[in-house]
């Protein structure tokens, strides 16, 4: 690998995750680097989404989840009991497969994060909302109807609104769970373009089903199969000369 240790932003060490008796992740150890986009690929049920949700502890919401091993974000183990999970999630934002704007106005959707952090000053909020919407490349489309309901937007716009909303809390890492799977090709292209622009500022981890998408947007790719990390490398190498047979079979479409 060409990158050195101190560029690592997220590192997992022997991460095991169980839903009740069922093991969903098997000893996953991985380094995810700053200012890069990492794609997680693999067939359905391979653990890639579970892994993503382990990175901001969204799995905590499910009864019966049990985690072993370490997830270090900038050297801090986020499963340490001393870690504040609320603080963690502010640092590690998440975009979901199905866009999920609140049934509130566009403005209030983006202002939600700042507001729960105690920002109530109107001009400050205005500024944060505008900046986030610009970053999400949505500002020009919605600037005249910020009071319109977020649910009135098109699917692609809704997803960008969710990205803007996530960025309004100034995270360092953005986790994306198949963010474009429900969108048409044009909206998908916009999201991909956005990801490309955001990677200078954020560490991005994206789960995708779509090989071409992984190839287009990511710098590194990790291949999961049956809860195990089979292989991780630079995307270019993963798609042209993977070192494992399973990876090759998957990226060439022989299974999955």
């Amino acid at each position: 690998m060409t990158t050195s240790m101190d560029e690592t932003r997220i590192r997992t060490e022997g991460l095991n995750l169980f839903y009740g008796p069922k093991q969903a992740l098997k000893s996953v150890s991985v380094d995810l680097k700053k200012s890069r986009v990492t794609a997680l690929i693999g067939p359905s049920g391979c653990g890639k989404s579970t892994f993503l949700r382990a990175l901001n502890r969204m799995n905590d919401l499910i009864d019966d989840v049990h985690v072993e091993g370490k997830v270090l974000i900038e050297g801090v183990d986020i499963y340490d009991p001393k870690v504040d999970v609320v603080e963690l999630r502010k640092r590690v934002g998440m975009i979901f497969q199905k866009s999920n704007p609140f049934p509130k106005s566009i403005y209030e959707n983006v202002a939600y994060g700042p507001r729960i952090n105690g920002v109530n000053d109107r001009s400050k909020l205005d500024e944060m909302v505008e900046r986030s919407l610009r970053q999400a490349a949505l500002w020009d489309e919605v600037k005249d109807d910020l009071t319109k309901s977020g649910l009135a937007l098109s699917g692609g716009q809704q997803q960008r609104l969710c990205i803007a909303r996530a960025m309004a809390v100034n995270p360092e890492i953005l986790l994306m769970d198949e963010p474009a799977s429900a969108l048409d090709p044009i909206a998908t292209a916009k999201i991909e373009e956005l990801i490309y622009q955001l990677k200078s500022t954020y560490t991005i981890v994206i789960v995708t089903h779509n090989m071409q998408q992984a190839a287009r947007v990511s710098d590194d790719t990790a291949f999961f199969y049956l809860g195990e990390l089979i292989e991780m490398d630079e995307t270019k190498k993963m798609f042209t000369a993977p070192s494992k047979k399973q990876t090759e079979d998957y990226v060439t479409g022989r299974f999955g």
Partner: protein, 349 residues
């Protein structure tokens, strides 16, 4: 470096308080059940601790031991009540003897010279009226539920469901009033019964209150039968009525059984309807056209007039305890059946 402050887990006071407060409030429902147990039974308790009327002090002692300090107040109040009676003096008040033999006798004459607290006629009365009510209500409600969920055209369904919701919204005192004024006369004209108000009139009126409960839960149970099951039957060439009768209904049986149990519970505990429509005579007969006095109606009619703390008062609480235990048991059994059905549903069985 921002990462270090991830460690400084803040103690969110409001978050902590909110969670504790919410859990404590939720606990209230559970506490109320316990309190009902304790406070209804506690007022019935003196019956069992004193078989002789003169040993009231003993009963008081018993209470002190059982309930600790707060019972002291209660005890003094009991004494005060006794004291007041003694001072009143003019009416010779006879402390009733509520021995087991008295309780199991067939006479309910709580305010006669020698009070008789025989619970049997009341228990028989409650059972009789409830039985009539459930025999009328259950077939009607279950058939109507079957009709709604399998045969009814959409338009009919849209009338039927609100109609039943309206029936469920009838205050029981309104049904009681209707039974007292209209139904009783109608039944007497129709069958020429000797008494206007009797067990049958009460049972019919009560069935109006029971129908919505049985209907709602039975309909729910029938609707919960997996579509795959009924579709399989239809695909084999069965008609819709054959499917309804031989597939849907048997599959929904546990839920329907629960519906009937809850209906019985409602009938057994209902007060205003029976109080107004059954004639309230504590007769120990099995004739459905005789007037009847149920347990709930007895409490409703007599509690306002008893002396707090005397035997009659305690016996009324004992009746309440029996009602509570009975409905509690029915609910627990019904819930067991409903849960089992749900479990089966989730397993896809």
């Amino acid at each position: 470096m921002r990462s270090s402050d991830l460690y400084t887990r803040k103690f969110h006071v409001s978050e902590f308080l909110a969670e504790k407060l919410i859990a404590a409030t939720a606990f209230l429902s559970f506490a109320v059940i316990i309190l009902i147990f304790v406070f209804v039974f506690r007022e019935a308790l003196p019956i069992f601790s004193s078989s002789e009327p003169a040993t009231h002090d003993e009963a008081v002692q018993e209470e002190v031991e059982t309930y600790g300090e707060e019972a002291l107040g209660e005890a003094s109040q009991l004494r005060a009540a006794e004291e007041k009676e003694r001072r009143a003096g003019s009416i010779e008040h006879v402390e009733g003897n509520a021995s087991l033999r008295n309780l199991l006798s067939t006479d309910w004459q709580p305010v006669s010279g020698e009070p008789k607290f025989g619970l049997l006629p009341l228990i028989v009365g409650s059972l009789k009226v409830s039985l009539i009510a459930i025999l009328l209500a259950a077939p009607l409600a279950i058939l109507a539920a079957l009709y709604t969920s399998t045969f009814a055209p959409k338009r009919v369904k849209e009338i039927l469901k609100p109609a039943i919701e309206i029936l469920a919204g009838f205050p029981s005192v309104v049904i009681g009033f209707f039974a007292l004024i209209v139904l009783a006369t109608f039944v007497q004209d129709l069958f020429g019964t000797m008494y206007r108000l009797n067990a049958f009139v009460g049972g019919v009126a009560l069935s109006l209150a029971v129908i919505p409960i049985v209907y709602t839960i039975a309909e729910d149970a029938i609707a919960a039968v997996p579509k795959s099951m009924t579709e399989a039957s239809l695909a084999l060439g069965a008609t819709s009525w054959q499917t309804a009768l031989f597939v849907t209904l048997p599959a929904a049986t546990p839920g329907i059984f629960a519906a009937v149990l809850l209906g019985v519970g409602r009938a057994f505990g209902e007060t205003m309807i029976v109080l107004m429509a059954t004639g309230n005579a504590a007769l120990m007969t099995f004739n459905v056209t005789d007037p009847v006095r149920t347990m709930s109606a007895t409490i409703g009619a007599e509690m306002a007039e008893v002396v707090f703390g005397d035997t009659h008062y305690n016996v009324l609480f004992l009746i309440g305890s029996i009602l509570f235990i009975f409905t509690f048991t029915l609910n627990a059994v019904a819930e067991f059946y409903i849960r089992r059905r749900l479990l089966r549903k989730f397993r896809g069985g």
